[in-house]
């Protein structure tokens, strides 16, 4: 348990500092509200539309495809570092893994998931 005391202290100090800053600024700070100031912040430009925008389902598809190839790279890094030690066995294993991904890629391609305008 003693190992976690510094961590708890960190949380405590963080909470005290943030809390203090917010309270002090709301008590001491000057207030001059204008309609522009009360609007949601949107990079400085005039805000348009409501809060709930339905993103197109294409974004999810792209995100999922990204994750697949991201994971592939994550697995490839350790293999690349240990390339000489693993030898041909490692090469064959990685080859079968990549070829399975290629099958998936062909499927995705053929199904038209890579085309943005459909």
């Amino acid at each position: 348990m003693a190992t976690y005391v510094p961590l708890l202290l960190l949380f405590l100090v963080g909470a005290v500092i943030t809390g203090a800053l917010f309270t002090l600024s709301s008590i001491l700070g000057p207030k001059n509200p204008t309609p522009e100031k009360m609007m949601p912040y949107e990079c400085g430009s005039e805000s348009t539309g409501g809060r709930f925008v339905k993103p197109s389902v294409k974004f999810y598809l792209t995100a999922i495809l990204f994750v697949v190839f991201d994971i592939e790279v994550v697995l490839m890094y350790p293999w690349a570092i240990q390339f000489r030690t693993l030898g041909w066995g490692g090469m064959a294993t990685m080859g079968s893994f990549v070829s399975l991904l290629v099958v998936a890629l062909i499927y995705v391609w053929k199904k038209g998931a890579l085309e943005w305008e459909t």
Binding site: L100, V103, A104, I106, Y107, K110, K111
Partner: protein, 503 residues
């Protein structure tokens, strides 16, 4: 290159490679969804391909069984992640047979109901791969991996009828509760790792035997893991998703869920309970898992049978009946605490009998419906015996097998479970099981009453019956299996006894 290793996992490899090929074939097949003709969709070829893939997997499993996995050099190389023993092979066989029959059902059902999209078949095949991994998993990490591979495919299969709100709702419910259950299982696995320092089941057992552990943690972990698995087998306090998911899913997907998912979950439940928590102190009546499993069994049987009798939809009744069967099998799981081999063998035999009977019952229900008019209620089936005697006959056979009437497979399944329970001295459980079988007979026989003793209603769905060689051949295969298991039960039981896990 160790040929023994590849031979021993050949059922898995065959099904996985077949799935990849089917996926490619599906992508390159022409999109003929909009065709009027029933045999023009991608189903006509893919269903056959899936069935061939899965039955080949079953044949490979049987072949490795006859060679003997222990004789193959390198078959234990994958231990403890994948354990290839006779137990795994038995379940791989059951899973492949169940999946193959379900794909045959889909070959007739999907074109008939205009949801003929080829994704169904690769999804089904990959789910079967996950189920085999689950049955073979000797480590909680591969167990979780197999569970997820299996479940993700089944979630998509459940929501396959995209236009239907019902199907989407079923899929959503199943997905949310299923992932919740998976999270509980994973939480339990994390706690058991925290307590013992092992993720492999044999190592967990060794650590438990060695003692000097935080038993509070172990207790919570065992409970969480049992709850996670109970979700998958739909034991009673955790069954809420089952009727909705089973009813909303396309019928072939329902039969796949009822059969393959349940078999794989029971396989892994047996392995977790008997390998990781199997030492005598934990598998006694006073402490450990048997009281939990027995309570689940009693609740599952009683509640499911009582609700099933009140259903007006035959598909929903079959869903509750599959919950009730999970209860009967849980009695067999409880039995393993005293009769190690016989208890397991009764569970395995029951699962095999249940697989063929349930697939058959759902298949017969499919044959009773046609495009746009699925047979749903009991009234929809009235007069079937006069209009289509053959369908009515096989439907009766499967229902009688589910009810446990001799000389069908289901009768011997129940017989062995009750025999085991009596042999283990679990008299109250056996009495409750027998009383529940009587309750169950009510709603199975009610279908027979409607089929044979009522006049056909005008506009019944089967007035324009669907004709499908796939569904018919699946029904014939299942009927032959039900009768064969009923006529030669001892052979399969001996096989199951040999498949039992070592104590």
């Amino acid at each position: 290159m160790k040929t023994g290793l590849y031979l021993s996992i050949s059922p898995l490899l065959v099904v996985a490679l077949g799935g990849a090929l089917l996926m490619l074939a599906e992508a390159f097949s022409h999109h003929r969804e909009e065709h009027e003709s029933r045999s023009a969709g991608p189903s006509s070829e893919l269903a056959l391909g899936t069935a061939i893939t899965l039955f080949t997997g079953a044949i490979f499993a049987a072949a490795v069984w006859f060679v003997g996995p222990e004789k193959l050099d390198g078959s234990q190389d994958l231990a403890p992640w994948l354990i290839i023993d006779r137990f795994t092979l038995f379940f791989a066989f059951t899973i492949c047979v169940g999946g193959g029959l379900a794909s045959l059902l889909a070959g007739g059902y999907l074109p008939e109901h205009r949801i003929d999209r080829g994704e169904f078949y690769p999804l089904l095949t990959f789910s079967s791969v996950g189920a085999i991994i689950l049955a073979a998993a000797g480590d909680v990490l591969t167990l979780f991996l197999g569970l997820e591979i299996m479940s993700l495919g089944v979630y998509a299969l459940t929501g396959f009828r995209r236009g239907s709100a019902r199907s989407t709702e079923a899929s959503m419910k199943y997905f949310l509760l299923g992932s919740f259950a998976a999270a509980l299982l994973l939480y339990g696995a994390a706690l058991i790792y925290g307590a013992t320092g092992h993720t492999d089941l044999a190592g967990i057992r060794a650590a438990l035997v060695a003692g000097n552990l935080n038993y509070g943690l172990v207790l919570i972990a065992v409970t969480l893991m049992i709850v996670g698995l109970a979700f998958k087998i739909s034991a009673v306090p955790f069954h809420m998703w089952t009727p909705d998911a089973y009813e909303g899913a396309p019928t072939p997907a329902t039969s796949f869920m009822a059969v393959v998912v349940k078999s794989a979950a029971f396989a892994t439940m047996l392995r977790v309970l008997l390998v990781a928590f199997g030492q005598p102190e934990l598998s006694s009546w006073g402490a450990g898992w048997p009281p939990i499993i027995a309570t689940l069994a009693v609740l599952t049987m009683t509640v499911a049978n009582l609700i099933a009798g009140r259903q007006e939809s035959v598909k929903r009744m079959l869903a509750y009946s599959s919950i009730a069967h999970a209860g009967y099998i849980l009695v067999g799981v409880t039995t393993t605490m005293r009769l190690h081999e016989d208890g397991q063998a009764s569970v395995m035999f029951y699962l095999l009998a249940y697989t063929v009977s349930t697939i058959g019952a759902f298949g017969a229900l499919i044959l009773c419906g046609s495009r746009g008019a699925e047979a749903v209620s009991y009234e929809d089936l009235s007069g079937l015996g006069k209009r289509h005697p053959a369908v009515a006959l096989v439907f009766s056979l499967f229902l009688l097998s589910l009810a446990g009437v001799p000389p069908t497979a289901g009768f011997f399944g129940k017989l062995y479970i009750v025999k085991g329970a009596i042999g283990a001295g679990l008299y109250p459980l056996s009495v409750i099981l027998l009383l529940n079988s009587v309750l169950g007979a009510y709603y199975y026989l009610r279908v027979l009453v409607f089929m044979y003793m009522r006049e056909p209603a005008p506009g019944a769905p089967f007035a324009r019956p669907m004709k499908s060689g796939y569904v018919t051949s699946a029904l014939v295969l299942a009927a032959v299996a039900v009768v064969a298991l009923g006529l030669f039960p001892t052979t399969s039981l001996e096989v199951a006894v040999r498949a039992a896990l070592a104590p």
